[in-house]
Amino acid sequence: MSFDNAYEALTEDNDARWAFGTGFADPLAGMDTTVPSTVDATSLAEYCLHLGDDALIMSHRLQDWCTAAPELEDEVALANIGLDLLGQARLLLSRAARADPSLVPPVPQSEEDALAFFRDAHEFRNVRLVELAGDFAFAMAQLLVFSTWRLALFTALVSTEDKVLAAIAAKGVKELAYHRDYAAQWVVRLGDGTPYSQERMQAGLDAVWPYVDELFEDSAHVRAEFDSVVAEVCEAATLRVPVVVMAPREHTEHLPAILAEMQSVAREHPDATC
């Protein structure tokens, strides 16, 4: 391929040279997304939206660590974990949109873009855990709780009736296993480190804990596994598993700020991607 000027090169369709293309194709391209007759399409869509929003907002939180993590290796690791979750979010938002198109805001953008960029905070279904921000110890506690819960949930979803969701879950399990190990190893390193690192790590766990109960409101079946993994990590890390009451139910004040950052370009330039 050769071009007379850079503008021509940029505007060519299907150009694979610009950081993996100038557009994002449908992540479910060519897949059979028919909802099984025994599954309620709206419930399936709402559930996928919830799982997709969790991944989308958590991914955004992890991206905050780009240029801010303690070491370059951890910056790369957190960006990679964020990328895995962004991929899960794309698949899940697309799955939600195919199952029940009435959930998608009526804008010309692709279904996943419409859901990510053209809903307001009160329409997001994510758990509040993923909205929170703090220091590195807090981030590791947050990632340990999130990936332990999600790994247990996805492991159970591998045998769910909807084949698309089951496939997304089976793929996610492999990724989440790496995410959980990464967070667990940091929690052990900091908890079982110096008295000062232990104090910071315990503070991180304590700050995350009011948001744990919410995770199990519609997934009580994986609570036992979650508790057992967290207990194992905390024991190795010489930390106590906190006992606290659940935080208030509303989205935290962080969410509108996250969305303002994430959505501003798409809303300012609605024709940029379609």
């Binding site: 951890d74 690791a77 990679n80 895995d84 492999k174 990724e175 296993a177 190990d181 190893q185 194992e232």
Partner: protein, 165 residues
């Protein structure tokens, strides 16, 4: 699945290389799942390595271009998520090409229930430069989602390792 397809469209698709590991073809990597010639065109099926693999669009575009140039005007590139990609699908030839490029190929992928690893597992990864097994994990995540970063204790060189999944 692979055995049912015939024809030269498959041969063309098998020449397309991976955008991030250009020493490997998509077939070497195991992401090219099927190539089928039908009366209405060629149907190519690919699977992502990781959910967030940003190279899927580039793979799709490269497959389209290669097949168009080979005289197949109608090409449909489809995604399949199940069964999920595993490094066990990287061919023997693919593993040799990785090693030649200084990237340690993956060992056998873990099977069965997921286990929690609180410490890095003992090294079974040989340094692609000097062959020493005395290598340590620097980071499980590297330039791409599928690679980990390791360092050799014998020759001190850092190197990448396609981690088992």
């Amino acid at each position: 699945m692979l055995a049912t397809s015939v024809g030269t469209a498959r041969a063309v698709a098998e020449t397309v290389t991976d955008p991030e590991l250009p020493m490997l073809t998509l077939a070497d990597l195991g992401v090219l799942r099927d190539v089928e010639e039908t009366p209405s065109g060629v149907i190519v099926t690919i699977t992502p390595t990781y959910s967030g693999c940003p190279a899927m669009d580039a793979m799709r575009a490269d497959l389209m271009v290669a097949l168009h140039r080979a005289g197949y005007p109608e090409v449909d590139v489809r995604t399949v998520l199940s069964p999920a990609w595993t490094t066990d699908w990287i061919t023997r030839e693919g593993r040799e090409k990785l090693a030649e490029a200084g990237i340690a190929p993956p060992g056998k992928a873990p099977r069965g229930p997921v286990t929690l690893a609180l410490t890095a597992p003992p090294s079974r990864v040989a340094c692609p430069r000097c062959g020493s097994l005395d290598t340590r994990l620097l980071s499980r995540f590297s330039a791409t989602a599928c690679r980990a970063l390791r360092q050799c204790g014998s020759c001190a060189e850092p190197f990448e390792h396609v981690k088992e999944i």
